[in-house]
Symmetry: C2
Subunit: 370 residues, 2 copies
């Protein structure tokens, strides 16, 4: 069985550069091989650059982005703790679900889908809940294409003595993100978005304050797989006697090392700007074709654009025709936006004006024919 080559303009995965696929297929080595331990150090170092952090505890979890979310929350929260979760789309809602399962009290700050987290509302909530110990929010909402002001949110959390957890699944290396400067305590992401790597990994970083919180826990983390204390000693001390925890997905990490090398080679600033320019070109093309972005200009997330489905267009029919006739994947709406918006990803490899043209040209032709 060989899959058809697709052009991936949905919410991720995006297309994966040949050098990353080639790294992926290198002969497997052991997860305790000294060469693999070196590779993990290299990945950690490159990831610190991508996150703009000096956190020693910066590494790649051996499962998709959702495990980043779960790992962040189950390690920082104990039963009875209070967390404030900002919800403006599907992924904030998922954070609530996970935190509830820990036995934490969840206070929500809810904003309309398609709008960012409102810092004033968060501030009021922080004042009303001095018992809160964590603020969690989504930097880049993949369900709505909205970017929230991570810098301001993290600063508010800190002012009120809370740790800040940021979902950076669709922001890492695609839009400005400065973990240390902004004071984010835990940030996690996915491999298959702006890093343009294969899906299945979740890069994560923990601040010293987050590590301290984990050390002071009085209950064991409910998940053995997600228990960061079982991995911490390695990353903190830099010891080469890495304790065996689980068998790392060696080949996927070969791919991640290459994906992060490409980020370093390009530089973050240029990569952020490339995503911005590609998105600007996309907006222009959409607007001149009479297609309306769903999110107000100032809150749009460059790597992922939501566009309203015109009243006379057939949602599934258009996406089906793009896929079957053109081998182009366009994202459908998720949750409240199902049937109402398309999600157009211009991430990683695909974040160029030329790729935006390729997608819009095909979309317009298919809509005209349909």
């Amino acid at each position: 069985m060989s899959a058809t080559r697709r052009e991936l303009f949905g919410p991720g995965p995006t297309n994966v550069p040949a050098s990353i696929l080639s790294a992926l297929a290198a002969p497997t080595i052991g997860h305790l091989d000294p060469e693999f331990l070196e590779l993990m150090d290299l990945v950690s170092q490159r990831l610190r650059y991508a996150y703009q952090t000096d956190n020693p505890l910066t590494f790649v979890l051996s499962a998709p982005g959702s495990i980043g979310m779960e790992t962040s929350l189950v390690n920082l929260l104990e039963p009875g703790d209070t967390i404030i979760i900002c919800i403006n789309g599907v992924f904030g809602g998922r954070m609530k679900e996970i935190a509830s399962r820990v036995g934490a009290t969840v206070i929500t700050v809810e904003n309309e889908w398609g709008t960012p987290v409102d810092p004033d509302q968060l501030e009021q909530t922080l004042k009303a809940h001095p018992e809160a110990s964590v603020v969690a929010f989504v930097h880049a909402e993949t369900s709505t294409g909205v970017r929230s002001d991570a810098k301001t949110i993290a600063a508010l959390a800190r002012e009120h003595g809370c740790l800040a957890v940021a979902d950076c699944v669709t922001s890492l290396s695609g839009v400005e993100l400065k973990v240390d400067e902004w004071g984010i305590d835990v940030a996690y992401s996915g491999s298959q978005k702006c890093l343009s790597c294969v899906p299945g990994l979740s890069p994560i970083t923990f601040s010293a304050a987050a590590v301290e919180r984990i050390r002071r826990r009085t209950h064991p983390v409910q998940s053995w797989f997600c228990d960061i204390s079982l991995l911490m000693s390695y990353y903190e001390t830099g010891e080469k006697t890495r304790a065996y925890h689980h068998t790392a997905p060696v080949n996927s990490l070969f791919a991640m090392a290459e994906a992060l090398r490409l980020v370093e080679e390009e530089t973050l600033e240029k990569r952020w700007d490339r995503h911005l320019q590609a998105a600007a070109h996309l907006y222009q093309r959409l607007e001149s074709a009479g297609l309306e972005p769903l999110v107000a200009a100032e809150h749009r997330l460059p790597p992922l654009t939501l566009v309203k489905i015109p009243p006379d267009a057939d949602d599934a029919g258009t996406r089906g025709a793009l896929l079957n006739q053109r081998n182009i994947e366009l994202g459908g709406g998720l949750g409240k936006f199902a049937g109402k918006a398309w999600r157009i990803g211009l991430m990683g490899e695909n974040a160029t004006p030329e790729r935006a043209d390729y997608l819009v040209d095909a979309l317009l032709e298919v809509m005209k024919a349909g």
Copy 2:
């Protein structure tokens, strides 16, 4: 960074055939692409063959084998439940750790490392604990190279009204395993052992009784990522409207489809026999060189052989020389057997008398030189 080609004779990963690496590196497609959904169906069907089961809920978890263990236990157990865990090595111990974190009462049946689970002891324990609802055991202990009698253990569990959970990480496709015939309720494995696939995935299967137990839960599963009820509807009804849960590791599943195709092509019976013949040849070679297998002949696990480190041999030195001079990975001892035994894997691709010779020849040369 390009890793050195290694010959992998440790406890896994093992060497990955070229056709699997090539499948792995196929261009990424979306996790909701109809072609990917077809691939998941195909993987599920092939996996049912490998497990010898008709269970509809048979699929591949998006993380390494440890997540198979955690998923099995956190879905079957609720706080206050009683589980009997058979411990005869590291992985039984890990089951205990995970079940304790669920808030279950853990009763253990402990047997010496290097010996199998004792069915009589299990039976006494089952009689003494009629409140137990689950029996968990390791079919193939990767830390000791012991195979336990899964058929008898599962039958005892059933007689006493318990579900049987089997860790098949180092048995799936490498030694006889018949999930339905033996009455195993949950079996999980890892991709990187006898399947000879890349590390990072955990194939799992749930019986109807296990599904029923999960449906009757009164507490949500503590882990959102591991909550099988969020995935169950798809696999049970065969509906094509797969709900989005997380982004599947698409490329790794390409590889898994190919790995399972190779199993089907060879047939399970021939593959089990191949592992057996390779191991028989290995025992012969080891014994004629004066090296002593650690496990009694009748309890040995063909894919993984523990051999006592001779008193005059240097454990780390020998393994280091093999790795650095010959690019051969030999497994060190784990837990109680660290420094006392080497672990020799002849799994998947490497389960042939020729590969056994390759390893033993190199080992003897290095030991002689050292």
